[in-house]
């Protein structure tokens, strides 16, 4: 009765087209059992199968009841969460005795003991849903595609807002599993976390694949969508616009089944600060062949002051210091500022301007022998001057002393575009500043609905680090908490990845409507957050293969295991080999490389000729202006950025005039 067909699960020759009373062409896989000691409940049931049945942890099954309730035969869907196997052996000693202590002899016994495969399944859905009763005794069938859709309640949103996340695979059933866009990207629920050990192509790969799926399937009527990804380590996200070279046939089949083209992202823009020297961009994507869509990320005083709190420690930012920072932000930066005590009017646009302003304020205080200015004590002024002035040094390459700026295209974000900000090689302060400002700006623009797109996915890896569950309450963590708690109303969605979910702030993970789990570390699985999972599910999580995920989603009452394809983009490791990072070069070489993106005809000799007379700061400023303006005539514009300098002329020796006659030594008057 319990046997499967000769093909494992399919129908054997001569079997009926439909199993009596079920409408299922396949024979039952198992049978529900319930005992007083192990009863069925409305949320859990037990069934046994043949020893060779295609059932494992995560398999979705359907139970057909035998007795109608309110005129309807109940159907129950469940997912296997635990398995047991045992024989009629009551003591291991009996087996030893049977074999005279020889394992080899035991395996030669004429008959194998009666053995059972008993599984526990968690209920996914009951039909009818009312009255909710314990799972009835009945035949158990492997879930079909339609069963999977029904069990996971995907039938309610599949046509409206389904986003493929992967393929459920068990016993010959390959059923696409969809997330509900309304619950993944808002407004009903939102946010996603990915957890898994490093190096097993889980977190980054899963997010890359999911972004491709979202860009393909996000319904047009729900608006436009873009992604902002922070590349926090290595070359992980540096080649999103390059095609993958290791997609297998199986991967391509998965793409076909999930209706996503296995192509790299068509629109990707990269942003990276400069190295501290300021010559080249601080990114692993510095190969000349890939430079066309890489832009510098450079901020000046105005951009930084708004987020000065990020760079000031709690010790720095007491109430008095906070008041002074607010004053400078509101009254000084970017405004005409005059004060009777100061010698002139100021318009502070850069860190250099600010430092000059500080210097004059302190001089004035000394001159007038005062200890405070506008209620700010001189010690506070000195401290804040010290802290703010060295921001440009602490975030060198990102923050400039002058007023030049190169930023993300606020207000002109493009639908289905990925904006990657490479912060992998930056100091922690600079990373924090970038996170804080970018996310805040996204939020501001989405609130004003002038970003250019309606939804933005923000992908942050290493949430352990940026939103830890313990440690000081940093500005970045507060910002991520705010995003997690309120972002969905704005269309601002956080995709976070971390190795240890238990170490991420619980309000961040708690607000994530969808959670993906790759292979997990055993220590992590031992933490209380995973106690809701059965030991078997935890074991499976600890042994998941590459390309497999466990998915939790608001519509799924239990976690579901799916397969997903390799991402359609060049992996960071292979990309770094194919497009090696450009060597650190001279100033002229770096400028040449930058300008070639705008005008491929520019040569190093030309750049050397133009810049020979100028200081590095002037050359960098000219490059920045040219990159920002992107003029038609790059050469002319670049040259025009330099002040005119008269080249020095060589000194020509001229013949001396008639020598003055020497005075006679005996004639002191010269006569």
């Amino acid at each position: 009765m319990s046997g499967t067909g000769p093909d494992g699960n399919g129908r054997a020759p001569g079997e009926p087209a439909a199993w009596p009373g079920t409408g299922d062409a396949r024979p039952p896989l198992g049978r529900v059992v319930a005992t007083e000691r192990r009863p069925n409940t409305p949320h859990e049931f037990h069934f046994w199968t043949a020893l060779d049945a295609s059932v494992g942890i995560g398999t979705i099954v359907r139970v057909e009841g035998r007795h109608a309730i309110n005129g309807q035969i109940p159907t129950v869907y469940g997912v296997v969460v635990e398995g047991f196997g045992y024989t009629d052996l009551q003591s291991p000693l009996y087996d030893v005795l049977s074999a005279d202590g020889s394992p080899a002899q035991a395996s030669r016994a004429a008959t194998e003991r009666t053995e059972i495969r008993l599984y526990t399944a968690a209920v996914l859905r009951q039909i009818p849903e009312e009255p909710l009763q314990p799972v009835p005794i009945g035949d158990v069938f492997l879930a079909t595609d339609e069963d999977v859709a029904c069990a996971l309640r995907m039938d309610a949103y599949l046509a409206r807002s389904g986003i493929p996340i992967g393929l459920y695979h068990a016993g010959g059933t390959d059923a696409p599993v969809y997330l509900d866009a309304d619950f993944l990207l808002g407004p009903e629920a939102a946010h996603l976390t990915v957890t898994g050990v490093s190096g097993l192509a889980t977190k980054t790969s899963a997010v890359e694949w999911l972004l491709a799926s979202i860009f393909t399937h996000f319904p047009a009527e729900k608006g436009s969508i873009a992604a902002v990804c922070f590349n926090v380590k290595g070359p992980d996200l540096c080649f999103l616009d390059q095609p993958s070279v290791d997609l297998s046939d199986a991967d391509r089949a998965l793409y076909a089944q999930l209706a996503v083209a296995p192509d790299p992202f068509a629109n990707v823009r990269y942003f990276a600060p400069y190295t501290p020297r300021g010559y080249a961009l601080n990114t692993l994507r510095s190969h000349e062949a890939l430079a066309h869509n890489v832009a510098p990320l450079v901020w000046g005083l105005r951009e930084v002051m708004q987020f000065a709190d990020v760079l000031l420690t709690r010790e720095d930012l007491d109430a008095k210091a906070d008041a002074l920072v607010d004053f400078i932000r509101e009254m000084v930066v970017g405004r005409q500022f005059t004060d009777g005590m100061l010698p002139r009017a100021y318009e502070v646009q850069s860190f250099a301007d600010l430092d000059e302003w500080f210097r004059d304020v302190l001089r004035a205080l000394e001159k007038h022998n005062q200890e405070s200015w506008r209620t700010h004590h001189v010690a506070t002024i000195r401290k804040i001057r010290n802290r703010l002035s060295n921001i440009a040094q602490r975030c060198a390459g990102l923050v400039t002393n002058d007023a030049r700026v190169s930023d993300l295209p606020w207000g002109s974000f493009v639908d289905r575009t990925v904006y990657v900000i490479d912060v992998a090689n930056l100091e922690e302060d600079a990373q924090d500043l970038i996170f804080a400002r970018v996310v805040s700006k996204l939020r501001e623009h989405l609130e004003r609905r002038d970003l250019g797109v309606n939804h933005v996915v923000v992908f942050v890896d290493e949430l352990n680090k940026y939103a830890p569950g313990d440690g000081p309450d940093t500005y970045v963590r507060k910002m991520l908490l705010d995003l997690a708690e309120r972002g969905r109303y704005l269309g601002l969605v956080l995709f976070g990845a971390q190795q240890f979910r238990s170490q991420v702030h619980r309000r961040v993970v708690g607000n994530a409507g969808t959670a993906l789990f790759g292979r997990m570390d055993a220590d992590e699985l031992a933490t209380p957050g995973y106690a809701v999972l059965s030991p078997a599910v935890r074991t499976r999580l600890a042994t998941l293969e590459k390309g497999q995920l466990m998915v939790r989603h608001p519509h799924f009452t239990q976690p579901i295991f799916v397969r997903f394809p390799r991402p359609p983009v060049l992996s960071g490791r292979i990309g770094a080999e194919r497009f090696p990072q450009a060597a650190e070069t001279s100033l002229e070489g770096a400028v040449t490389r930058s300008l070639r993106v705008l005008d491929p005809g520019i040569t190093l000799e030309w750049v050397k000729g133009v810049t020979a007379l100028y200081e590095p700061a002037e050359i960098l400023r000219a490059r920045a202006n040219t990159e920002r303006e992107r003029p038609t005539d790059v050469r002319a514009y670049f040259k025009a950025q330099f002040r005119a300098v008269v080249p020095p002329k060589p000194v020509v020796s001229q013949p001396l005039g008639v020598p003055i006659r020497a005075a006679p030594t005996d004639d002191p008057y010269g006569f």
Binding site: L89, Q90, S91, Y94, L97, A110, T111, T114
Partner: protein
């Protein structure tokens, strides 16, 4: 308790509402102490020449049995019509065939029978009419050629219950016999039958049937041969003898010690094997061959069954199967 027993109980509630009810279903009659057959020695004629002696079975144990057959029964007194016990008996038998070293049910499945066992002459016509419609068996009838029916003092309630028990037992044997005969007609591989095979001529003459008897209230040796039996070592058998009991079909039989039994009672690990008669010249080879087959079934152990020392795992599997469906 199985569904048919409950159905029987419900029917009795309807048909004989005034009958004296028992206290629940209670234990089956099979589990109640009852006077057994007296232990005895019945010397048999050896067919291998010479007196009864120990013979070592040559060669290693050999897996040959294709299936195992056993039956079971359950007998309950449900009511008393005055002093007459109304008995409901269930009998079943099954052949479990070995495929890929695992045992599965053979053929059309097990044979089951459940019915009332009532002495017609001692109950009302109305009641008999009711139960007869369901195939009730009259325990007042003759059980066999030697049965005299219910003696005048046999109307004692306990005697009537024991008589019903014998009828249920006969039904079980009939089911077992039916299956064994079906097997012998259709299959070729050896069938391990729990108990003797002489009750059916078809089975007793079939080359594929092997009966293995674990109970030894009757020992087919003389008093002088008992030391041989008692000192029989593991893997040793006695000289084969011809067994012809009453009207039963004569068979070839011998004792075989399945396990080392030092310090244990004489019949521990001892079975008596029955096979079809054959030419005297072929007896030794046949006895050795079948003994090797039986010895191959000593593993896995049938623990925790108390008869594990002589019970083959395949027979225990039959019992467990029947217990599950009864």
């Amino acid at each position: 308790m199985d569904a048919s027993l409950r159905s029987a109980q419900r029917l009795l509630d309807r048909w004989a509402p005034t009958a004296r009810s028992t206290d629940g279903f209670g234990p089956t009659l099979e589990t109640l102490p009852r006077p057994g057959e007296s232990p005895r020695l019945v010397p048999a004629r050896t067919v291998e020449g010479g007196p009864v002696r120990a013979r070592r079975v040559p060669g290693a144990p050999e897996v040959a049995f294709g299936a195992f057959l056993d039956g079971t029964q359950q007998t309950h007194v449900l009511r008393h019509e005055c002093t007459v016990p109304i008995v409901f008996g269930t009998a079943a038998a099954v052949v479990r065939v070995r495929r890929n070293r695992r045992l599965v049910t053979w053929g059309r499945g097990p044979l089951r029978d459940g019915r009332f066992y009532v002495p017609r002459a001692l109950v009302s016509d109305a009641f008999w009419t009711q139960v007869a419609g369901l195939g009730a068996m009259d325990t007042g009838a003759h059980l066999g050629p030697d049965d005299q029916g219910i003696a005048p003092d046999g109307v004692h309630p306990t005697s009537l219950a024991e008589r019903a028990l014998h009828f249920v037992q006969a039904k079980r044997e009939q089911l077992e016999r039916t299956l064994a005969e079906d097997w012998c007609r259709t299959e070729r591989s050896p069938l391990y039958i729990d108990g003797g095979i002489s009750g059916s001529e078809t089975v007793a003459r079939a080359p594929c049937s092997v009966g293995v008897v674990k109970a030894h209230r009757t020992l087919y040796v003389g008093p002088d041969d008992l030391p041989v039996l008692a000192t029989l070592g593991a893997g040793e058998r006695t000289t084969a003898f011809r067994l012809a009991v009453g009207r039963r079909t004569p068979v070839l039989s011998w004792y075989l010690r399945c396990r080392h039994a030092p310090g244990r009672e004489p019949t521990w690990g001892l079975v008596r094997v029955e096979v079809a008669e054959l030419d005297a010249a072929a007896v030794t080879a046949r006895a050795d061959e079948v003994s090797r087959w039986v010895l191959a079934e000593t593993a896995p152990l049938a623990l925790p069954d108390p008869r594990w020392h002589a019970l083959a795992y395949g027979i225990r599997d039959c019992e467990e199967f029947l217990r599950a469906i009864m």
